[in-house]
Assembly symmetry: none
């Protein structure tokens, strides 16, 4: 037996309904079309982005939870000879002695695969640190930035790589490494939106 309108606990409520920003991205979304081959790349980027959003929102240690993760690197280990350039005169052969050690660039450069990403350097602001345009900077999100570290920071929406320092009044300072003086230090003021995304732990490049 069904009686209509017998009970009505619900109904029209002013201001009811789900609130904006309660979704995965905590902000409005939209739909775009992408090439299939780049889907995983973009979803990786977005998972990193959402992770950051959640980090900032809750300030909890998500590493313990392990919900979010970068793809694991299926890496084929290489072991390539590293030579000491002070090889004594004579006829040294790379196949023989004088091998300082054997190393794999990926293992050498990357500590935590799931906390590491690469950024391509633009501009000459860090040239004195040996970072040229086009170089790939290895960024480790898991490391705590210390004074003197080269860091990837987002300042008012733009990414920049600078040396982290502290000004006399205690506020953070982002220093370029370019003697020319073309690039100015960024003093972090209260009103600025600055976030340290990670510490630059290494770099690599190709010449040819």
């Amino acid at each position: 037996m069904k009686i209509e309108n017998e009970k009505k606990a619900g109904g029209l409520r002013a201001g009811s309904g789900r609130k904006v920003g309660t979704g995965k991205f905590q902000e409005p979304t939209e739909v775009i079309r992408i090439p299939t081959s780049q889907k995983s790349v973009i979803t990786d980027f977005l998972s990193a982005y959402t992770r950051k959003q959640h980090d900032n929102a809750f300030k909890v240690d998500l590493d313990a939870v392990g919900d979010f993760e970068f793809p694991t690197m299926h890496h084929v280990p290489l072991n390539i000879a590293l030579f000491n350039s002070k090889v004594p005169a004579g006829n040294p052969s790379p196949a023989d002695d004088h091998v300082e050690s054997r190393l794999d660039p990926s293992e050498f450069l990357v500590d935590k695969v799931d906390a590491t990403f690469f950024v391509t350097i633009q501009g000459y602001s860090m040239i004195d640190a040996g970072l040229l345009p086009g170089d790939k900077a290895v960024v480790d999100r898991s490391k705590l930035a210390a004074i003197g570290d080269i860091v990837l920071a987002m300042v008012d929406g733009d990414y920049t790589i600078k040396t982290l320092a502290r000004s006399k009044d205690g506020l953070p300072l982002l220093l370029p490494a370019n003697k020319s003086g073309e690039y100015k230090p960024i003093e972090v003021k209260k009103h600025m939106q600055v976030e340290i995304w990670g510490v630059v732990t290494g770099s690599f490049r190709r010449y040819k």
Copy 2:
């Protein structure tokens, strides 16, 4: 008055219709939902990606005989999270060089494993080429050295890394890359024992 089937130049044609891969991305696409704030970042990434696809199209066409196939030469698992640094606001220049697809540093740096070794840089003679003391230079012995290449040479029993050039009289010249003038070019004379050991194809370092 309409007469049906008066003229029909068209009609069913086997194999007719638009071909796959004729779109902007030259590959299948799909739809994903993204946070609105990241739309420009992702569209930048995609525009740079399509630009690269088009650049490569020439090479592909040369040896592509059968259907459409991408040169899966590096089907080797290469990974690590993408990051695409945002193009500075107000700068509409295409972001080609900021595109990072998944990257394995070892794959990126080493072409022929058997012909590659590493040398640790000492001294500041190549600092303007971005080679600092302690950096690991990637040396490929299989590549032919050309004028302008950074090479590992053995001069009278000592190893040195310099830029290969040619002097006015046609003899090889090994140029340092250091504006300070502290390091002098090495003019290769007849009586000298000079051997090019390989071409420096890349480098890498750790900061922390």
